[in-house]
Amino acid sequence: MKRIILFFLLTGVILAQNNKSDEILNKVKENFNKVNDYVVNVKIKVDVNFLKVPESKAEIFYKAPNKIKLKSDGFALLPKEGLNFSPNSFLQGDYTSILDREENVAGNDCYLVKVIPLGDKSDLILTNLWIDKNQFKIRKIESTTKSNGTFSINLNYNDSLKYPLPSSMVFSFNVAKMDLPRGITGDMNEEQNPEKDKQNKSKTTSGKVYVSYSDYKVNKGIPDSIFDEEKK
């Protein structure tokens, strides 16, 4: 009898947590869905030890629910997962979510919600979302993917903007080190060290990308043609 009561109690708690986490995620989606489209100027600084890239400027175009485009007059580079920080990109398809605990992130009280996609289609294995308790904005994301390892995104917001769009983002990640055959790079004369090559080949490497956003133009209307692939 006691065991049955305990079972129902536990089930009730878990269901309540699930309901609470779903409620939180729905509020986050609702908050973000105020944004139909936006254009923003970005400055991107890449800090990865095998990749040296000059600081670049670009524009990001977004149109709900999932159209996003990076454009630049020069060269610009962004991690794939860092291009679209909308909650919809992490909460697509079927998933289950659990409210784990409350935590403080950069001075903001947040809910930590764990999201596990169901099925095999999603590249995401597990995502932790730190969601601001008061404003229902995502403050931090930590995600593990099948193809690109683990990454985390820290988002900062400018309170003067009424939409949940960040003013800056720090994207931290691990990637497998580049593995290019020497001949392709043309560096036939480069000093070769087989021992060092062996070590380097097996390493993953960590890196950070710092993105600052400015001059948001929200809900001004963006034609679909912007997102068409440019003909080469």
Binding site: P54, F75, L77, V175, A176, L180, N189, P194
Partner: protein
């Protein structure tokens, strides 16, 4: 002295074989550009496939700078042959033409004579490199425009901002001119020893090819002698496409190649001064 150099330059540019180098470059470079126009995107996609797995990037990476960099890398062995073709004929050609005695009987010291010929050869080799620079950068920029330069090394990927590339090329071509001057000096030395231009041309190329092969063999013995081979330093222009640039090593390469030129010319001048002209 200026008059002597002008005379030697006139002699060099009066021969049709001098224009082979310029014509070859004028043909090969556009052909490479056309090939890059047809296949460049695919090659670039292949080169950056690992980067594309994790990143999204935009920009004109297939541009004139990348094509020029590729051309500079690819022609490093072929340009010395075009240099040796002319430099090997500077002294041996006089013997072949039977004009050696006539030349020596002029009221000009042997030292001035050999110096003027060497300087003329030096001017030719640097003009050839300048021609390569103008053609490859010019045609590359016309076909592909300018943009950031992506350089893929075994240690990683470097992308240079478009405003940070041209000065590197200018110094790189300058260094290439210095490297080709070493080739000129070697061919010139051999030219002083024989009476037929074919020998110096083939000997110079043989030395370059053998040294390059020795440098490429991954055996400790050859790795120990690598620092003593001038070919090790001829591709030091690549250091300019690194971040940060190792200026100390680059300067060392400049000094070593300059030293080779001075020594080779010194030996040539010594031998020429003592040479018995019998033809």
């Amino acid at each position: 002295m200026i008059t002597l150099i002008r005379i030697e330059l006139f002699k060099i540019f009066s021969k049709w074989r001098t224009y082979i180098g310029f014509m070859v470059i004028a043909v090969i470079v556009p052909v490479i550009n056309l090939a890059m126009l047809a296949e460049g995107e695919r090659s670039l996609d292949f080169m950056t496939r690992n980067l594309q797995q994790s990143f999204v990037f935009v920009g004109n990476l297939l541009n004139g700078y990348l094509v020029s960099y590729f051309i500079l890398t690819s022609l490093a062995v072929h340009i010395p042959f075009l240099i040796a073709l002319v430099a090997g004929d500077l002294l041996a050609g006089e013997a072949t033409a039977g004009t050696y005695r006539l030349l020596i009987t002029r009221p000009v010291s042997r030292m001035k004579l050999v110096a003027s010929k060497f300087i003329a050869g030096l001017i030719y080799s640097n003009l050839l490199v300048l021609w390569l620079a103008i053609i490859s950068l010019g045609i590359g920029i016309v076909f592909f425009g300018v943009g950031e330069l992506i350089v893929i090394k075994s240690s990683g990927i470097i992308i240079f901002a478009r405003g940070d590339v041209l000065w590197r090329f200018i110094i790189a071509y300058g260094f290439a001119g210095l490297s080709m001057t070493v080739v000129t000096a070697i061919a010139f030395l051999f030219s002083a020893l024989v009476e037929n231009a074919i020998g110096p041309i083939i000997s110079t190329m043989a030395i370059i090819i053998v040294f390059i092969i020795l440098s490429a063999i991954q055996i400790d013995f050859f790795r120990n002698i690598e620092p003593y081979l001038f070919t090790t330093y001829m591709s030091s222009w690549r250091m300019l496409f690194d971040d940060p640039i190792n200026y100390a090593e680059f300067l060392k390469s400049v000094l070593i190649l300059s030293g080779h030129i001075v020594v080779l010319f010194g030996v040539t001048a010594f031998l020429f001064n003592r040479k018995d002209i019998l033809t």
